[in-house]
Symmetry: C2
Subunit: 273 residues, 2 copies
């Protein structure tokens, strides 16, 4: 049974931001699989008068690669519409003259090609998956603990995500591990950081109240968006769990079974399906 109360804001919307993994597709072996109806839902949003952006904490590949993957899955999407943490991190490192030790997925490394990584004075971690070995965690830890003022950047702070073969631990879990080891608080780059959402709104040239975020992650998508004044809607795909509805601090403005249903409800309400 769809709850439709939240669609009352649909008429005043000017833009939508979509999370990617768990909303457009489920990741896994190869390209993963498109979530039924999502390809068509993106097509309908693009055909509407709403501005559309994609906002992901995807850090397992450079943007070129994962946009190409989405295209192979049938999505009409291009690189300039996609916001992800690695390019934002590179900007921060440059701004502050920092040289990172990187613990990220191999396929993400090219995003940091132009960055000086000699004699590191900070650590950047992303979702490194299998690379989160004990040896690699120790190496990152030793860099941090050897610094006068340990500086740790985390590309997102997600707890886990869903692949086709089950739930997998995300970067936030390893961020907490290093935070505890070194008595530091990581600087999060990516969702749910306000800076990150504001950079997307800036690119859309819209105000927060004019934009809705749709995601499967209650804290990072919905909570992060709400924190800057956007509406946040959760879909019951990807990492959604029924217990999200009793979350102690974040309540979604609305929920839908999947992206196709959410888009259908928004566009119907606007009367321009």
């Amino acid at each position: 049974m769809a709850d439709t109360g939240w669609t009352s804001c649909a008429t005043s919307l000017k833009g939508v931001i979509l999370d990617m993994c768990g909303v457009l597709y489920d990741s896994g072996e190869g390209d993963g699989v498109a979530i039924p109806g999502s390809v068509e839902a993106v097509r309908r949003l693009k055909a509407s008068d709403l501005k559309l952006r994609f906002c992901t904490n995807e850090t397992q590949a450079v943007r070129e690669k994962f946009v190409a993957k989405l295209q192979r899955l049938g999505f009409d999407i291009c690189i300039s519409e996609v916001f992800s943490p690695a390019p934002a991190a590179v900007a921060v490192l440059r701004e502050r003259g920092l040289r990172p030790h990187l613990l990220v997925y191999d396929a993400l490394m090219p995003e940091f090609d132009g960055v000086d990584k000699s004699n590191p004075n900070c650590v950047v971690i992303g979702d490194a998956a299998e690379k989160f070995s004990y040896a690699n965690m120790n190496e990152a830890f030793r860099v941090l603990i050897g610094l006068e003022k340990p500086t740790l950047f985390s590309l997102g702070k997600g707890k886990y995500y869903k692949e086709t073969d089950g739930l997998k631990l995300d970067v936030g879990v390893y961020m907490k591990a290093l935070e505890y080891a070194c008595d530091v608080e990581a600087e999060v780059i990516g969702k749910p950081s306000a800076t990150f959402f504001l950079s997307v709104l800036n690119d859309m040239a819209l105000q927060p109240h004019e934009v809705m975020m749709i995601g499967d992650d209650l804290v990072n998508d919905v909570g992060g968006a709400q924190q800057v004044g956007m509406k946040g809607v959760q879909v019951r795909t990807g990492k959604y769990r029924p217990s999200d509805q009793q979350h102690p601090t974040v309540t979604a403005d609305g929920t839908a079974d999947h992206l196709a249903q959410a888009v259908d409800m928004i566009l119907s309400r606007r009367g321009k399906p």
Copy 2:
């Protein structure tokens, strides 16, 4: 320069508890190495009228194995004098009818031989070192997240320890990771848990104020001991770092360069060297 103020309590002492790794020896390849003077310091304590126990969060081997290692390094020590988390955990599991999924060092597994591990309804983690792979962490996570009420036991909550080739992440770091992933608080078995220290005092048949703990870990050895009313002295060996002296919550009752110096100061003060 030794600070000697803390030795004023030495005359009323009736017992001493020693941490092992970082106080008696530094672990590493093979048996590791005895810290200079420690073998003799233990011999002197045993020859005194003080009761002596050893209290460790060592979980990389069954007690039989690591006591044998200490004996090979020259220490006069026997199994019944040593308190470690695994046997305490087995007692808790039995008491509460819990069946653990174990993420512990292979060599520790025999401690859990008699415990039903089928269809697990809790997770026990110890210092698993290289076994803290992404795959193993995911496995433990999936067991926890699949339980109605996730129950996580951690054999200690140390941040890191020192081996001969450098600092290494300890179990507490991975405990924090799983706590964050599953929104649970782990039950710590071992130092600095009050239950654990009290079980040692009980075995000594002494009151807390009659006993001094000597360790290299400010929070787990010194802080844990102080919390139950014992004195806590830190030695500047093992994982000691100068920044410990500015720790926000724990202040050692005293410090010494190494165990040999601490023991010398205590026994001299008592006038029975």
